[in-house]
Symmetry: C2
Subunit: 345 residues, 2 copies
DNA sequence: ACGCCGAGCTGAACCGGATTAGTGGACGGC
DNA sequence: GCCGTCCACTAATCCGGTTCAGCTCGGCGT
């Protein structure tokens, strides 16, 4: 365990004071150019790095950001979304050597307690808020604390917090329109938890789009798990006559799309001949199954990177507004096809 | 932005000095019981929380641990392993309100640079090391830095670093033995990258077990991606006559097992009638497909929790040894069955 | 020749904790 | 009644940075 060099050590070697060293290392006026170079050379030679604790104490900012996820670990592990998101956030943060604190919470109350704790101890300078809910309790708490935060998701119910979002309603409309062109008239949607804001956005858009196209559009709620996805699929398909059952299903994540594919086959239906399937979020999973799944793709890493940049600005005290990213695009694969001729025409 | 209360504020209100407040809050002798209670009450009333920066500066430890993952984001997102692991680590760390710094690196050189940086700035008190490689360059660096670390994986090539591991060789033997009892004589394995230590462990054990049972055992290397898993499966099955092709395949992760299932079907083979499939790491994915996949299960969250406890001890200066967790167990599902009668008996 | 200015640096305070040496008073022993 | 001891607390210092007021000195103008 070697003692790390401090600015004091550099100052001694250079024959100046700590203050001069500080000026030199931070590139601010107060030292001559030759002195600055000499100090930088010595710092480099000693392998000096600023103590994060000392700097944090001195300037009052933690120098890191936080992310809390409160989904159950088992379903979380299968959500490529979060790893992609974290990867994207990191890609932006490393450019300023800002670390990310990641934690999983049991529920939203635990998450809020964590925010209060982090902020009281100044462990982070701000947080990313994911899985926004209807009437989300985190928003007023963050506002009350004055804690910088960026919401990832639709700018609805976000109060004064800036949001980074993509137009999911437009994506839903794209899917519905595409299916209609393929001749589908009865389509269903297997959704995530209804309390989530983005589920609400998608459901609302789905209803509007299907109604607008004169189609029957039914939505079934789940918890994103494969089990519930399979159950919802069975519920939609089992007891309905061919003339009333949906001919296409849109799933809110790819895991459920996969389980839906399995469930449909279990009921003797062929994909896409009898049933078309569309997944939300295009992960590698969609290409691994047969048939490969048509899916809504979006640049999740870019999404995370944008949010990180936004949070940095917000934490810097700048007033930041919402940022709209590109809408998801539909990647066509073989799980969608023309609607079966169920009218017996 | 309200000013947070400091120990100085508490001291003023209580009519004592900072030192007395420090004694009281840290439960050490130096103050009378009534005074201690009074101070605690005031601290509670003011909502005081210690400044993490000040504490870190004062006692020289960061109070947090780090984890660096250097796998490509696309395959990473599908690996339930890491989310489970992080979740397990957290479960242990939150009990001491210790945060976890998570970062993804491009490659091992970047990871090592990150370790040096983190340690020089005392951003973390130690790190979890995953995906140990043969002749891993991180080990000597961590030893040289004197940076506390715990390796997750077999205690081979870990130098002086403590390892938390499970007996994967035994797990391989279990699988081989089970398949042999089902009548299989030619089994193959679709492995992860050969440079990883645990791939080496599994491959070595696989060769020993198959040879010991008088069976043909072939291993094909991949990068854990579904694409490569499918390609490896095709390579194993395509050009071989029924009498020489493997009748069972063990995959090093569940994503590849799924892609293998899809690939085998594409070649006209039925599972498990023509081919048995076993996955490594039992995630929800294994239960979502038809047939559900037989898999090696292990308590990944417990694994992470043990590692976290170990790292805390190591960072505390205690000499810690290796810790062996339970070996993975085989969860039987419908993707494995009796070997087809290929001898034309 | 003198004053003034600004560049270049110093000294000290500050951030919010932990720690250690020292001090005052009460109390006990003889 | 005097001394010693212990308790409860204070004052001061440290951790490693940042910041700010002020000092010194050289050069320039007049």
């Amino acid at each position: 365990m070697v003692k790390r060099p401090t600015m004091q050590d550099i100052a001694r070697r250079a024959g100046v004071t700590k203050a001069a060293v500080s000026f030199a290392l931070n590139g601010r006026p107060g030292v001559s150019e030759p002195t600055r170079r000499r100090i930088l050379a010595i710092a480099d030679e000693l392998g000096w790095q600023p103590s994060s604790a000392a700097r944090a104490l001195s300037d009052g900012r933690a120098g890191s950001f936080g992310l809390v996820i409160d989904r159950p670990a088992r379903t979380l592990g299968l959500e490529p979304f979060f790893m992609q998101l974290i990867s994207g956030i990191q890609a932006e943060l490393v450019r300023h050597t800002t670390p990310l604190l990641l934690t999983m919470a049991e529920d939203q109350a635990a998450e809020i307690a964590l925010y209060r704790d982090w902020w009281a101890r100044r462990l982070v300078d701000g947080v990313f808020v994911v899985d926004l809910q209807l009437g989300d309790a985190r928003v007023p708490v963050l506002e009350e604390l004055g804690m910088p935060a960026v919401v990832l998701g639709a700018p609805l119910g976000t109060g004064s917090l800036p949001a980074v979002w993509s137009d999911e309603a437009a994506a839903v409309a794209t899917v519905v329109s595409h299916l209609r062109q393929l001749g589908h008239r009865r389509i269903a949607r297997v959704a995530g938890p209804a309390r989530l804001r983005h589920t609400w956005v998608r459901t609302t858009a789905f209803e509007r789009a299907t109604r607008g196209a004169g189609m029957a559009g039914r939505t079934v709620e789940t918890d994103y798990s494969g089990e519930r996805g399979a159950a919802a699929t069975a519920e939609l398909l089992r007891d309905a006559a061919p003339a009333t059952r949906p001919t296409a299903i849109l799933y809110d994540n790819d895991v459920m799309a996969l389980s839906g594919l399995t469930a449909a086959r279990g009921l003797g239906l062929a994909v896409p001949a009898d049933l078309s399937i569309v997944a939300w979020d295009d992960s590698a999973l969609c290409e691994l199954v047969d048939p490969p799944l048509t899916a809504l793709s979006r640049d999740i890493r870019g999404y995370g990177a944008h949010a990180a940049r936004r949070l940095r600005e917000a934490a810097g005290g700048a007033p930041v507004g919402d940022l709209q990213d590109a809408a998801p695009s539909l990647t066509l694969r073989r799980s969608t096809g023309p609607a079966p001729d169920t009218l017996g025409g």
